[in-house]
């Protein structure tokens, strides 16, 4: 028995979506193209003769001022989300058939709003009011028939669906191969197709053909695949009077964090990222996303709220960013270096914790003998305290990734952020073999490498040295390894190891050669020749 279904159809949805998201005027002649063919067009374009399936050039020939938009399924789906939410507000249990079309079981709303017609009217009105979208509603037995009814804006009475479908063209089945075959067999309407014996259709056209036959006969008994609305996990706290001090906010955040925890645990989830959003009574907002390795508990969340607000209240300069909503005070004083000092002007009246990066979590499992976890937890607490003392960007752990130079193989991530190594599985030809230098300079310093006759050491395109390196002179100052500027005698050298990296990216290109130099006092240096200068990169300390 087919379920009585109410289908909501938004005509020319790709065009409407482009209008909603990209700001294209939907009343102008607009066409959405996919693979150089028109996929959908606006009413104005249709009036000029643009049709579905036309080529771009043909469409433009018919309508020279046609606005052409590329097809983007993501945009369509994104724009349809508010419509689905609006439908859900009136009646639960919505199935999204595709962006632009959704279906609900008609029984519920019809009973509630006092009739199918009233329910349909109510839905159309609600969507027009809340989303600014034109929609049509059709009611029939089964999703397939209801969609066809929606296209015509009709309410098919119960039991009359087969009759309603009988006169329809066979192409509405949306199965091009089957439709073409049926046409050649002289079957032009759904009614003709439905009149065929079901057993013969199955024998001749297979399972899909038999299903199409049932659709044509108005016996669409597929139940609705209702979507379950995503759970709302955001935790919000409103404060009156507003929180004036950082410690008060951190205290409030602790209670919020407990609530967030409970809610996440109820769904068996854990968050790996957390957005903290604070709003002041004057309407300023500060939003930042914190990444975390492992699970965020109440204490860590409270700490992060404290750090975030600390930076804000003490007036650390924040670069004004166009996106992300970091800062929203137009009258903030601008410093001479172009940084804007972001400082709130009132207490915080709302805190929101937005969990992100949700993963399934079945709880932490400590080691059987307690050997795992206890020492780790102690170390975590200590490192946390240091972060509290010196600030979040003071304690790091290192991640070893891929790369040729020693400096680029190490990435420091602030303690608590997730550690992810990249590029370790690549071969990296040109990498200097082990052992690695124990001291790597964060900023390479220029050095003079000379041959025996005191001339600058050159390396030509064929990687031959202009002579054996004889002396290396480090500059004065604290950057050098205790040297006083006197030239050191080179006793041995190896290389050159050429590197030609990222030549395709103009700003990041790096073409250099590296040399290992053994010096007379027993130490060894790693120097790199780049842009006509030798740079001390690392010391084999």
């Amino acid at each position: 028995m087919a379920v009585r279904t109410l289908t909501l159809w938004c005509p020319d949805w790709p065009v409407t979506a482009a209008g909603l998201i990209d700001g294209v005027d939907p009343y102008a002649p607009v066409a959405v193209l996919y693979a150089n063919r028109v996929l959908a067009c606006s009413a104005a374009a249709r009036a000029e003769g643009v049709r579905r399936g036309l080529r771009k050039r043909e469409a433009q020939a018919r309508c020279p001022h046609l606005v052409v938009v590329e097809h983007d399924p993501d945009r369509d789906a994104r724009a349809f989300e508010p419509v689905v939410a609006a439908v859900e507000a009136l009646t639960p249990g919505v199935e999204v058939i595709r962006p632009g079309v959704c279906a609900v079981a008609a029984k519920g709303p019809a009973g509630y709003y006092g009739g199918e017609e009233q329910a349909a009217e109510r839905l159309v009105e609600h969507i027009a009011l809340h989303c600014g979208v034109v929609a049509q509603v059709g009611i029939a037995d089964g999703v397939f028939a209801a969609l066809l009814a929606a296209r015509r804006g009709r309410i098919v009475p119960p039991g009359a669906t087969a009759e309603f479908l009988a006169g329809m063209d066979i192409s509405t089945l949306d199965r091009p191969e089957l439709v073409e075959l049926l046409r050649r067999l002289g079957i032009r309407t759904l009614g003709d197709f439905a009149a065929l014996p079901a057993g013969d259709v199955l024998a001749r056209f297979g399972v899909d053909g038999a299903y199409a036959h049932r659709l044509a006969a108005g016996k669409d008994d597929r139940p609705l695949a209702v979507r379950s609305p995503p759970p709302d996990l955001v935790v919000t706290g409103e404060y009156d009077p507003p929180l004036e001090r950082v410690d008060m906010a951190a205290f409030a955040a602790r209670a919020l964090a407990d609530r967030l925890h409970e809610r996440l645990a109820a769904y068996g989830l854990a968050a790996t990222r957390l957005g903290i959003e604070a709003r002041t009574a004057a309407g300023e907002e500060l939003h930042r996303v914190w990444r975390h390795d492992g699970l965020l508990d109440a204490a860590t969340i409270a700490d992060r709220v404290r750090w975030q607000l600390d930076g804000w209240l003490t007036g650390s300069a924040t670069r004004l960013r166009a996106h992300g909503g970091v800062f929203s005070d137009p009258d903030a004083p601008t410093r001479s270096d172009g940084l804007v000092v972001a400082r709130p002007t009132a207490g915080i009246d709302r805190l929101r914790l937005i969990p992100d990066g949700l993963v399934r979590c079945s709880g932490m499992q400590p080691g059987l003998w307690g050997e795992l976890g206890e020492a780790d937890a102690r170390a975590h607490r200590a490192l946390h305290r240091v972060q509290g003392l010196l600030g979040p960007e003071s304690v790091y752990t290192a991640v070893l990734g891929g790369g040729r130079g020693y400096a680029e193989r190490v990435r420091l991530v602030p303690w608590g952020d997730e550690r992810r190594a990249e590029g370790n599985d690549r071969p990296w030809p040109g990498r200097i073999p082990a052992p690695a230098p124990a001291t790597v300079l964060t900023e390479p310093i220029p050095v003079m490498v000379c041959t025996a006759d005191g001339a600058f050491l050159h390396v030509d395109e064929r990687l031959t040295l202009s002579g054996p390196p004889a002396t290396v002179r480090l500059p004065h100052g604290p950057g050098a390894e205790g040297s006083s500027g006197a030239p050191l005698t080179v006793t041995g050298w190896a290389g050159p190891w050429p590197v030609d990296e990222r030549w395709w990216a103009p700003g990041e290109a790096n073409q250099s050669v590296r040399l290992q130099l053994g010096v007379a006092d027993g130490s060894a240096l790693l120097v790199a020749g780049r842009d006509g200068t030798w740079w001390l990169e690392a010391v084999y300390d």
């Binding site: 003071s394 193989r409 690392a538």
Partner: protein, 259 residues
């Protein structure tokens, strides 16, 4: 049958002779030995460093300083620091390094330090004493680089904290009142010729001195880093196939130059 054994054991005074034999062979220990065993109060170090440290381990609560000779700027103090951390870190201890911003962490990984359990505080600023104190509370080994030296009173405070918390304080540079001082006296790189070969390993001589059990001077020669990156005692004469290849290359280069 069971009762007969019990009565037989009861009649004896002291443990059976077979147990005595096992204990003499070191195969059996009393349960009470475990509690104040040195094993519980110490952290392991690499075999190459064992002759240098009293008890062959890093005693919890002690302070170890690492110094290079003033004449050689890069004599291996940082490599020695990695060597000291390596074994304990690999065994599951957490380590932190405070105030050393130019560590070559690839070398640390090659020496055997577990990078995921190594916390770095490269720029602690003026509050470094508080940071070191907090780290000593929770971590097993805290390494500190103090380029400008430290006042004796502060040093005493930090050393006492380490002793109380059972953490090991490792200092690169001078530190008044250290338990063990590891001084590098000589360092030579091997494997690098005039345009042939490459850096393979370094031979260093380390002299350990200190207070208490470490008063006697101890001297050891080690490969730091060894052929595999990890420290090794230099007595074991490891000549790898690479060394032979280097030697052959060097000889060939000399011949070429002569002819």
């Amino acid at each position: 049958m069971t009762s007969s054994i019990v009565t037989r054991l009861d009649r004896r005074d002291g443990p059976p002779a077979s147990l005595e034999r096992l204990r003499a062979a070191g195969l059996v220990r009393r349960a009470s030995d475990r509690v104040d065993q040195a094993v519980e109060r110490s952290l392991p170090v690499a075999p190459a460093l064992r002759p240098l440290l009293p008890g062959g381990c890093l005693r919890r609560g002690s302070t170890v300083t690492i110094n290079g000779p003033a004449s050689i700027p890069a004599s291996g103090a940082t490599s020695l620091l990695f060597a000291v951390l390596a074994e304990a870190s690999a065994a599951g201890s957490w380590c932190a390094v405070v105030g050393l911003s130019r560590l070559g962490l690839v070398a640390a990984a090659e020496a055997g330090v577990a990078i995921e359990r190594l916390a770095l505080v490269p720029h602690p600023g003026p509050d470094w004493v508080d940071a070191v104190g907090a780290l000593l509370d929770g971590l097993d080994i805290v390494a500190v680089g103090v380029p400008g030296g430290v006042a004796p009173r502060l040093a005493t405070r930090i050393t006492a904290r380490a002793r109380q918390r059972g953490a090991v304080l490792v200092v690169v540079g001078a530190w008044p009142g250290a338990d063990v001082t590891l001084q590098i006296t000589a360092a030579t790189w091997h494997g690098l010729g005039a345009g042939v070969g490459r850096l393979r390993r370094r031979e260093v001589e380390v002299v350990a001195s200190g207070r208490g059990a470490a008063t006697r001077l101890r001297r050891a020669r080690l490969w730091l880093p060894g052929p595999s990156g990890a420290p090794m005692p230099a007595e074991t004469n490891h000549i790898s196939i690479d060394d032979y290849r280097d030697r052959a290359q060097r000889a060939a280069a000399q011949q070429r130059r002569a002819s």
